[in-house]
């Protein structure tokens, strides 16, 4: 399974989200390839992704996708990320 963590510039925030998504997936005992991308690269990065993790502001920038777009409110809240990923991949 492929998961993309998305932010505006591809530095900093998307990496925080990627690191915490990996931790959440470990809790769920799910194996996945989690990468970080910026908005400009999301078309290519998420072409075969099952899930895109992002913040509410960036949803409209994603465009057409077959992936489940999962909005994360608090990038540091492992409980939130785990619960939302469990629904998205379950």
């Amino acid at each position: 399974m492929k998961i993309v963590a998305l932010c505006g510039a591809g530095i900093g925030t998307s990496e925080i989200l990627r690191v915490n998504a990996v931790r959440a997936l470990a809790r769920l005992d799910i194996e996945a390839d989690v990468s970080a991308s910026d908005v400009a690269g999301v078309g290519a990065a998420a072409a075969d992704a099952q899930v895109i993790l992002t913040s509410p502001e960036l949803v409209s920038a994603i465009g057409r996708t077959n992936a489940d777009v999962v909005v994360i409110e608090n990038y540091f809240d492992l409980d939130e990320i785990t619960a939302k990923l469990e629904i998205a991949v379950g």
Partner: protein, 158 residues
């Protein structure tokens, strides 16, 4: 791609700015730019580029309650990888759907497009503890900030 930043509990004084007066989110971002400039990571123009990111994409950089992570893409105005911590005298609103108002701003500068802050896992360790943001906001000196970052960055949180 990784690069070396000082460990967060060894951030120099120039990279920590406490209780800055900021009337709005733009001023708050410019405070982070000032600290990045003072610590030698970037030119003052980087502040305008961080503001432009928010104007273009919205306040997505407010990634947890009370915490904004200001940054822009690499550019000629970035001289070295940098990370600064700014606390605000009064919290300001960025217009975020869930996480306003902001009292702590982290400023990040990177010199290459595929660079990630090497200490990002440490950042995650620190801020996974939800008590750290208000504690940082209340810190009165730079040693206290380093102590909070050191206490929270020990990976025994799992």
């Amino acid at each position: 791609m990784t690069y070396q930043m000082p460990p967060l509990d060894q951030l120099p004084d120039a990279a920590i700015a406490l209780r800055r007066p900021a009337g709005d989110w733009r001023s708050a971002v410019l405070c982070a730019a000032e600290a990045l400039t003072a610590s030698g990571a970037a030119d003052p123009s980087y502040g305008e580029r961080m503001i432009a990111m928010i104007q273009e994409y919205g306040p997505y950089i407010v990634i947890a309650p009370g915490l904004a992570m200001a940054h822009a893409r690499p550019g000629p105005d970035v001289h070295a990888p940098g990370l600064v911590i700014v606390t605000l005298e009064e919290p300001v609103s960025f217009g975020h759907a869930y996480n306003d108002p902001v009292s702590v701003v982290i400023g990040i500068a990177a010199t290459e497009a595929d660079q990630h802050v090497a200490s990002v896992a440490a950042l995650a360790n620190i801020f996974n503890d939800e008590t750290v943001i208000p504690a940082l906001a209340a810190a009165s000196d730079t040693d206290e900030v380093r102590r909070l970052l050191a206490a929270a960055s020990h990976p025994d949180l799992g």
